[in-house]
Subunit: 224 residues, 2 copies
DNA sequence: CAGCGGTCTTGATATATATCAAGCAACAAT
DNA sequence: ATTGTTGCTTGATATATATCAAGACCGCTG
């Protein structure tokens, strides 16, 4: 069922933030033992509490980090889009994953063996530098989320999310929303019901126009 | 008023997670242009939205990352204790701080010039490796916090916090609480009122014994 | 195209925690 | 030791959002 290919999508990989920073030689080093997979939505790429075998470079689609707590609840800690590498901290610290990686859409991923990645980072300064940049960026995204959760009401959180999802730097644009509403809501610290209400409120205010899997944004700056 | 000393506390520094990982030579490299400061509680070490001049190694006391949102609220994103290095992501990415660093108690910090740190990390593999470990660890702490905020009720959050604050691995122990209650509460995503209530509830259940600046924990495992 | 199953939306109600206010406790200054 | 200030605690009330339930919508399959 999953499609396995040894012909990686070179341009996509080259343009990912990680490999753009690491450079061609470092990229070639990691690609040699790696392979690409096409996986359907809901696939679990890695399990919370398990030890990592691979680092995954997301080439297309969305992956959610789903975490469970001991009392049985489940949430989405982060949603990664194309070009993102995950989950570097668990691989490099040799610790279990803190969350499962779940495909929120059909996804294409490059699977880099964990040991290859660890050796590469330890031996190649370009890979070390790219890893430091990636980890720094990801930490700052988490900080931003914590501030969001603690200080902003649900509607403001949703508005900011849409602003960031619009590819255009300014003015009107379109935020594609291919992920399940439940995942989008959980990432924002809420429920699907609250997400629906927030989206409806923003539409009522004339800031967006909603359809099933997208939101047309009238002016990005007014949502930020 | 602040005490500046060029005689660093070598053993404290050596035993910090970062320098324990980086080793003696790397440590010597960073220490050469650095200096130590003793600062009173409420001192602002660095400002949200400013660019970094230093990396701070906390030698004693607590520092809170305080963030403000545009609508005027303020919260505490993280509290760092002795041995922690901050704020590496802003320094290495050359970006403004996402939060201010505020002394929650009197603190002693080692100030490492940002440029020295950047050069060190770029040129010394031991420093790069230590940085990667630190960033990975800090990211996982943020993930843990997001899960806490999203899945656990306030009392559970406080209980887990106390369990982690107890230095003893198991059994009875004491959690010192020198920081202002408002900061402790904000880090946990709540208000001082809710923190008080949670602490009182845990005491009522016989899990802790409270005094002004400490909580005696009966059995750490029952709080975790 | 029709039917089915899963997801999403919406109205009503419940709830965990914030807010408000006042008193108490701790700390600093004299 | 006393006084004043700041921080903390506690009771009452308010509120943002969760929960529950039912209908609408969307996507997939035959």
């Amino acid at each position: 069922m999953p499609t396995i290919s040894r012909t990686p999508n070179l341009e996509l990989i080259r343009r990912s933030p990680f490999f753009a920073a690491a450079g061609e030689a470092a990229m070639a080093r990691l690609l040699r033992p790696s392979f690409t997979q096409q996986l359907p939505r809901t696939t679990i790429l890695f399990d919370q509490n398990e030890l990592p075998d691979f680092v995954h470079l997301l080439l297309a689609g969305s992956i959610g980090l789903k975490a469970e707590a001991e009392a049985g609840g489940e949430t989405v800690v982060e949603i990664f889009g194309p070009g993102e590498l995950l989950l570097v901290p668990a691989v490099l610290l040799g610790l279990p994953y803190l969350a499962s990686g779940v495909a929120l859409t059909d996804v294409r991923v490059l699977m880099i063996p964990a040991e290859t990645f660890r050796e590469g980072v330890a031996q190649d300064p370009a890979l070390a530098r790219a890893t430091i940049e990636l980890l720094s960026r990801h930490w700052r995204l988490m900080v931003d989320q914590v501030v969001d959760l603690k200080l902003r009401p649900a509607e403001r959180r949703v508005a900011r999310f849409l602003a960031r999802r619009v590819p255009e730097e300014a003015g009107a644009g379109t935020a594609e929303l291919p992920e399940p509403r439940a995942a989008l809501a959980a990432r924002r610290g809420g429920t699907p019901a609250t997400l629906s209400r927030a989206l409806a409120a923003l539409e009522q205010q004339g800031l967006i126009r909603l359809s099933a899997r997208r939101a047309d944004v009238v002016d990005r700056a007014r949502l930020a």
